[in-house]
């Protein structure tokens, strides 16, 4: 989001738009008034003097929209506006967009959330391989039709329960990998969690609920208090020692997981760098062979020597994930693993994670998306304000239920 977190909403909106000299007075009052005028068409717009870093993600989006409106825009292009928002924030943004459209503004809405497109838009245009694959009125349109347009295949569906092989196999008998008790740090207040072999655990909660702090803390990226035991010995030390122990972390933002100008093969070899002696020779040929294997095993569309920047988002995320899977990791901490990934890539990443757990490993995934958790997890832990508030197992995990939990929490916060 190209906004400045240290400035107020009104300053962000009119930054560079004053059309006045560098030394001219800032004209604060007049701008605040214009801000109010423009913001009137939107419900839930933040007050003009609110400093951005104190606002929620959806309010940032509203400020960005107000900024666009302040330039007398006739067309508003929204490029994945909801990818960093949770459910309730998303619907408040959608209300705003609908209001604007009713007010006569043209909206071009780019999104990979199919439901949103169908509900919000009048016409849906699917682009595939840089061409218009289909363009249809959304009235009566189904997700299925859009999916077919996107993938070019008939009858694909998002990962569903049917693709999960033997259901609750990971009973209490399989050995414990990770035992967390009383974990605290960052936004995390207190949390207990056991992870067994074959476990597919989801953490569900809004941004800043502490789930991310737990994952990053387990990976040694930030300090975590409490008892953390890995295979019956304490898990501590640097990120390196956790990797050596078999713990891996998949960051939510691919720019933290990849060297974009490096070839796929070198990216896949990245975790092995710190494990070997600094003066050890680079094994270029071995890395290449390993990359060829990983590419075919995980269905990455790309060549070993191709730079990662040139891959699609989904394939980039697959590279980011496979660099752990083809190593010795036994626990993957997946932090919003499919943020900004298209439908097909998303399904493949889910399949990778499911296969990983099936093979006697485990993953803990943080997601704000009920659909994702429903599709992949055998246990979902609801995290709120740094604490575990509820736990759902197997059949209890439904999209409706998770959405209801998110909704209750949101209205509780609002009141």
């Amino acid at each position: 989001m190209p906004l400045l977190s240290n400035l107020t909403a009104v300053e962000n909106v009119f930054l560079g738009l004053h059309g006045r000299g560098f030394l001219a007075p800032s004209g604060r009052r007049g701008l605040a008034k214009r801000y109010e005028e423009v913001a009137r068409v939107l419900s839930g717009a933040p007050p003009p003097q609110a400093v951005l870093e104190t606002l929620r993600q959806d309010e940032w989006q509203l400020v960005a929209i107000i900024r666009a409106l302040a330039t007398d825009a006739r067309i508003l292009v929204l490029d994945e506006p909801t990818s960093s928002l949770d459910g309730e924030e998303r619907s408040s943004l959608h209300r705003a967009v609908t209001e604007l459209a009713d007010g006569g503004l043209g909206i071009l809405y780019v999104s990979h959330f199919l439901d949103d497109v169908i509900q919000l838009c009048d016409v849906a245009t699917v682009l595939r391989d840089a061409r218009v694959a289909m363009s249809l009125q959304t009235e009566g349109l189904t997700q299925q039709t859009l999916l077919e347009g996107m993938t070019g295949e008939v009858a694909v569906s998002t990962t569903s329960r049917t693709s999960r092989a033997s259901e609750p196999t990971a009973g209490d008998r399989s050995p414990i990998l990770l035992e967390v008790s009383g974990a605290a740090g960052g936004a995390l207040y207190e949390l207990d969690l056991d992870v067994r072999q074959g476990d597919r655990i989801g953490l569900f909660g809004p941004q800043g609920c502490g789930a991310r702090d737990l994952l990053q803390g387990l990976f040694g990226l930030q300090r975590l208090r409490g008892s953390i035991r890995w295979l019956d010995s304490p898990l501590r030390g640097s990120t390196r020692s956790r990797i050596d122990a078999g713990v891996a972390y998949l960051p939510p933002d691919r720019k933290f997981g990849l060297m974009f100008d490096w070839p796929v093969a070198d990216n896949l070899a990245l975790p092995s760098l710190g494990a070997r002696h600094g003066l050890a020779p680079v094994r270029r040929r071995a890395n290449r062979t390993a990359a060829t294997t990983a590419i075919s095993r995980f269905g990455i569309v790309g060549r070993p020597e191709q730079t990662v920047r040139t891959l699609s988002g989904g394939n980039q995320q697959k590279v980011s994930l496979s660099k752990w899977m083809h190593g010795s990791a036994t626990l993957i901490l997946a932090d919003e693993p499919t943020r900004g990934v298209d439908v097909r890539g998303r399904r493949l990443i889910h399949e990778m994670l499911l296969a990983f757990a099936e093979a006697g490993n485990a993953f803990v995934m943080y997601s704000t998306d009920p659909e994702e958790l429903e599709a992949t997890c055998s246990r979902v832990v609801i995290v709120n304000e740094g604490r575990l508030t509820q736990e759902l197992v197997d059949d209890e995990i439904t999209i409706e239920r998770l959405e209801a939990i998110a909704h209750v929490r949101h209205s509780a916060v609002a009141s």
């Binding site: 840089a130 640097s238 933002d253 060297m259 003066l279 020779p281």
Partner: protein, 360 residues
């Protein structure tokens, strides 16, 4: 995404194109100087150039490593001066061997100090080494007292002017250092880590690269190279002068950057840095041979550096912005032409606005 596929596929070639442009300048300079004066392309002159660039070249190898790891060292001049005085003082009082060992240890200590300030104290390397450079050169002046100190032992001078197999000793040292640096950077796991830390420090950390260790190593390495250069400088001048190496930092960085090593980190190579070192040396040599005003040499070098880096920036910009799409906004009064690019919205008053997406 094949949307921009055609262009993306050209990326690797562009990287090579950049190297190519430096090699092209290199070739042009060689041809031009050979045509301008018959004295240029002679064995004597070429070994002369090697002798002249050796000291800058030795330190430039360490600077290459530092720049690739996204760090900077402005303190090399101060280090060379300080190490020179420590070496000569100790050599004069305790003998040659003690002096050399003390010099190398001082270099290592200076490097580790820089590493400490940059990693543990988390000071930006530019500021850290600006400060430590002042400290080191200040200490050099303190050690020197009122006047530069000459070494009693003549071995320094004898080595610095000696020839082996037709090449000057400093030239040999430069060659050895370049080979070692090339091996470290391009053929070892540690070298890959240096590139990783410079390319994307966060991603390197997330992949378990111990960047603190890398930063300590690269600063210690350039410290030791400063010690080596300092020993040779003492020999060449036959005196340890606290102000002798004052132009070193900029000369070294100039040569390195000219060789295509990016100060943004992650990009560059030892062989191209060597080309940069020789390019600077040849330009200087050409000015000498042609009896041009030596002050103009600085103007020339400065211009070439700016041109080279501007080119680098242009290439980078071109690589990181996706193709701009021409959008024609339909408007009743005016036919507004606007360029629609994803990412930060600019301040223009176009009638189409883009809000950057959450991730890309």
């Amino acid at each position: 995404m094949s949307l921009a596929g055609g262009r993306f596929r050209g990326r690797e070639q562009i990287g090579r194109l950049k190297d190519f442009s430096i090699l092209l300048i290199f070739g042009i300079v060689i041809v031009a100087l050979s045509l301008a004066t018959p004295r240029f392309l002679t064995v004597t002159n070429l070994t002369n150039i090697l002798d002249q660039v050796a000291l800058i070249g030795i330190i430039a190898m360490g600077m290459t490593m530092l720049l690739i790891s996204r760090n900077f060292d402005l303190s090399v001049g101060g280090q060379v001066a300080f190490i020179g005085l420590v070496t000569v003082k100790i050599a004069n009082s305790h003998g040659l061997a003690a002096g050399i060992v003390a010099g190398l240890c001082t270099g290592l200590a200076c490097g580790l100090f820089n590493g400490f300030v940059v990693t543990t104290l988390r000071v930006n390397s530019l500021i850290a080494t600006l400060g430590s450079g002042l400290i080191f050169s200040g200490l050099a002046f303190v050690l020197a007292g009122s006047s530069p100190i000459s070494p009693v032992d003549t071995s320094f001078q004898e080595f610095a002017i000696a020839d082996f197999l037709g090449l000057p000793a400093p030239g040999w040292v430069f060659i050895v250092v370049a080979v070692i640096t090339g091996w470290l950077l391009h053929f070892t796991v540690g070298g890959r880590e240096i590139y990783a830390v410079g390319e994307n420090p966060e991603a390197a950390r997330y992949a378990g690269v111990r960047s603190t260790r890398i930063h300590y190593f690269t600063f210690a390495y350039i410290g030791i190279l400063c010690a080596v250069a300092s020993l040779l400088l003492v020999g060449q001048l036959n005196v340890a002068d606290p102000s002798a190496a004052s132009t070193f930092p900029l000369d070294v960085i100039a040569a390195t950057v000219l060789g295509g090593v990016s100060i943004a980190g992650g990009k560059g190579s030892v062989h191209m840095a060597v080309v940069g070192v020789f390019l600077i040396g040849m330009i200087s040599n050409g000015f000498n041979l042609l009896n041009l005003d030596p002050n103009l040499y600085r103007v020339m070098t400065g211009s070439i550096i700016i041109a080279a880096v501007a080119f680098d920036g242009a290439v980078r910009q071109w690589l990181t912005t996706p193709g701009a799409v021409r959008v024609r906004a339909r408007d009743d009064e005016e036919e507004a032409r606007t360029t629609l690019t994803p990412g930060p919205a600019d301040g223009s008053t176009s009638s189409v606005r883009t809000l950057g997406g959450g991730s890309r």
